[in-house]
Symmetry: C2
Subunit: 158 residues, 2 copies
């Protein structure tokens, strides 16, 4: 996966946090996802398809999920309930949706989100997909963005 595909996702994540949640996030080092690092406790997952296929995973530590949901819902969330699940799915949706607009050459559309919970869960991509993983620090704790993205033209060459 080429790093240029990832930039729209980085931008949309920062924008979603600053405009929707009123906080700035600090990006760590981009790296190829190696599949051996567990992600955080709650992950929003959303698919992309069109002239490319992709998958976006936005994974939050429990505290980040609770605080982000509290900011979105304007009420304090203290446990991972349906409102928090919805907020995490909506954040994944916003990040994928804004990135989609930046990647218009690929005529992407986005799927329903799903949200994974469970302390030890890991999200993996097929081994032929070179997914990118980016750790973030937020004022509330850790978060990770993972994106797999393959243009249809490369897919046809496999």
């Amino acid at each position: 996966m080429r790093v240029e595909y990832i930039n729209p996702f980085l931008t949309s994540l920062s924008n979603a946090f600053s405009t929707m949640l009123g906080v700035e996030v600090e990006r760590g080092q981009l790296h190829l996802k190696d599949g051996n690092h567990p992600v955080h406790e709650i992950s929003g997952v959303i698919g992309l398809s069109g002239n490319a296929v992709g998958m976006v995973v936005l994974s939050f530590s429990k505290n980040v999920a609770l605080k982000a949901a509290s900011a979105m819902l304007m009420m304090e969330a203290t446990e991972i309930n349906a409102d928090v699940i919805d907020a995490v799915g909506e954040l994944a949706n916003m990040v994928a949706g804004a990135a989609k607009s930046e990647l218009e050459a690929y005529q992407l559309s986005i799927s329903l989100p799903s949200v994974i919970t469970g302390r030890d869960h890991e999200v993996r991509f097929p081994s032929n997909v070179k997914a990118i993983s980016i750790p973030y620090e937020t004022p509330w704790g850790e978060m990770t963005l993972e994106v797999g993205f393959t243009p249809a033209i490369e897919l046809a060459q496999v």
Copy 2:
């Protein structure tokens, strides 16, 4: 979610198991997913989009994942490794891909799959999505298919 949307997924799952893996699966009772039942240890997740948005989750007990991967790869898989992850993603891909052909009015395209591991993971859908959950018995153990599917016309009415 209307039950008629689900039939293509049921058919494609049975067909994938009988043609690719050489086993028949027994379908249990369809029910609305209530979000409180953990799924099995390994889940393939794949998004659908077009004139509808959807998400398909195919969740396997460890033994079903290992045996299904062994049948696909024609070698014995004894642990959840990259080959098993790929096989689970490919099964989710096949089920979504075959169902897509049956639902051609929706001009669906399918995303990259991702695969979730972790004994206690749960996969949830946004609370406004009435996802359907279907338990299956296979000769190797338990499996669950979950599908959320919302036509764009209904989405516009929300």
